[in-house]
């Protein structure tokens, strides 16, 4: 589904030249999940922007679904860190925005949004505005908006990091259900070791800026909600912790 080869991204600002990604390579099979983990500022979000086709100024090769990545791919859905909901649209309009932008007729749009909001338990909230929702509810609306587009690739930036522990785990379980049901490919970027170990059937560990791949860890246990309780889960977590610490040369005690 995704092949990234020697991806390099450099930002040129008047003040400085910043290398965000310094040669990143990995692959994600169709229908698999991949978590990208790394310290703050290692270029994780930049990587998602490239995969989403929003950032085109990169070197290296990035292939999504057999084609060089390009903007406007219809079945790629991106969920950003603060969910990117429009404060002036209510839940229903926010969830239907992608369909509206793609010119899906109103009747079909409303039917699809209604179905997805019901599935995610958001239908009762449909007339509320994002400002009236809790963080977890907002994230679910953002997921609903993405799912309405029937994506085969779901890109998520720090999806649950700002939520409290219980909401976070509930939503992680929710995401796994969605993954099982739709079979879409999921790439998520996170700084949380537990989140990466729980959701990523493959975990890519990045070094501090400029981000390079420190390790690619296969994590086949991920994908079922009981994984969190299994001893191996904790082994994966401590393995990732070591890998992350190894990548952070100036902070060996992380």
């Amino acid at each position: 589904m995704i092949a990234v080869e020697d991806l390099r991204v450099t930002f040129y600002t008047p003040a400085a030249t910043v290398a965000a990604l310094g040669g990143v390579s990995f692959r994600v099979a169709r229908g698999d999940t991949c978590a990208v983990i790394g310290p703050s500022g290692c270029g994780k979000s930049t990587l998602l922007y490239v995969l989403a086709g929003l950032l085109r100024n990169f070197q290296g090769r990035v292939v999504v679904a057999g084609e060089a990545v390009k903007p406007g791919r219809r079945r790629t859905a991106l969920i950003l860190q603060d969910y990117g909901l429009l404060p002036w649209k209510n839940v229903f309009a926010n969830a239907g925005l992608g369909l509206e932008l793609r010119g899906v007729p109103r009747a079909e749009r409303e039917a699809r949004v209604t179905r997805i909001l019901r599935e995610l338990g958001l239908y009762e909230l449909r007339r509320l505005f994002p400002g009236q929702l809790s963080g977890g509810q907002r994230q679910r609306v953002a997921i609903a908006r993405a799912l309405a587009l029937d994506p085969d690739l779901l890109l998520m930036d720090e999806p649950f990091s700002s939520l409290d522990a219980l909401t976070r785990e509930a939503l992680q379980d929710n995401l796994l259900e969605i993954w099982h049901r739709t079979g879409c490919t999921i790439v998520l970027v996170t700084h949380s070791i537990e989140e990466a170990a729980f959701l990523g059937r493959q975990v890519v560990v990045l070094s501090p800026r400029p981000g390079r791949v420190v390790a690619t860890h296969l994590n086949p246990g991920a994908g079922k909600s009981s994984w969190r309780q299994e001893p191996e889960f904790h082994c994966v977590c401590s393995f990732l912790r070591q890998q992350l610490a190894g990548g952070v040369a100036d902070a060996p005690d992380l």
Binding site: Y49, A52, G53, L54, P71, G72, R74, T76, A77, L78, I79, L80, Q81, D82, Y83, G84, L86, P87, W88, K89, L97, G98, L101, R102, F129, G131, Q132, R145, L149
Partner: protein, 245 residues
């Protein structure tokens, strides 16, 4: 209902203060509100009503023209730093110039009728709307823009769904602040070069020592301001529901 009550209370307080001052000062130049309202009632369906209508038309046309020109330009400058770098010095140079000084230029060009007044108001409001719209458009959170673009928005859809709703509250606030200035300037313009409008009516009454008429004109002017603020308030509550949750 509550708002109606509060507005009524404010009007009553104002009238009471006026009445008190009129009684205490006992000046010909400050007739009690009863006298002024009697004239207002008498003239409203006659000359006064017509002058109020003319002034209302001038203010509303000026607002409409300013919004229609300043908003698109604000969008362009806000979203294109290069264009803004070119235009900003010009804007900052012209913005502080009191536009009323252009009246002697506008009158020979457009005559003493509606056009010169409307354009004067447009000029004043244009800059007051342009700057907040430009800044609002510039500082729309990048994450909002990115996520809507990733949903498949083209430039037009981006303006419609993101930029415009984001700047709308600021635009309405700017409009509210600026329309006070606009009415004041309209008054001034109508006193020096017009045969119509509330400014003319008030100044005409003033120069013929017809104080009750003058105050009737002032009441009409107050009404005009109140009408505009009420409409803007209503628009803001209606269009920016999300701000008042």
């Amino acid at each position: 209902m509550r708002r109606t009550f509060e507005t009524g209370a404010a009007v009553a307080a104002l009238l009471l203060l006026w009445e008190l001052l009129a009684v205490v000062l006992d000046l010909e130049a400050l007739p009690p509100p009863g006298t002024a309202f009697a004239v207002f009632g008498r003239d409203f369906l006659g000359p006064l009503g017509w002058h109020l209508l003319v002034s209302t038309y001038r203010v509303l046309a000026g607002i409409a023209l300013a919004v229609l020109t300043a908003v698109p330009l604000g969008f362009i400058l806000g979203r294109n730093p290069a264009a803004d770098r070119l235009a900003a010095p010009l804007i900052y140079l012209v913005y502080p110039v009191p536009k009323i000084v252009l009246l002697p230029v506008l009158i020979p060009l457009l005559g003493i009728g509606d056009a010169s007044k409307v354009l004067l108001i447009t000029l004043i409001l244009f800059f007051q709307i342009l700057l907040p719209v430009r800044d609002g458009a510039r500082y729309v959170p990048a994450a909002l823009v990115d996520s809507v673009v990733s949903l498949g928005a083209n430039t037009r859809a981006l303006y419609r769904h993101v930029i415009w709703p984001a700047v709308l509250p600021e635009m309405l606030t700017a409009l509210r602040v600026a329309s006070g200035t606009a009415i004041a300037v309209l008054f001034f313009a109508e006193t020096i070069s017009s045969q119509e409008g509330l400014g003319y009516y008030i100044f005409d009454a003033l120069s013929s020592w017809a104080y009750p008429e003058m105050y009737a004109g002032i009441i009409a002017m107050g009404l005009l301001g109140f009408l505009i603020y009420t409409v803007l308030d209503w628009l803001e509550r209606r269009l920016c529901t999300w701000k008042y949750l």
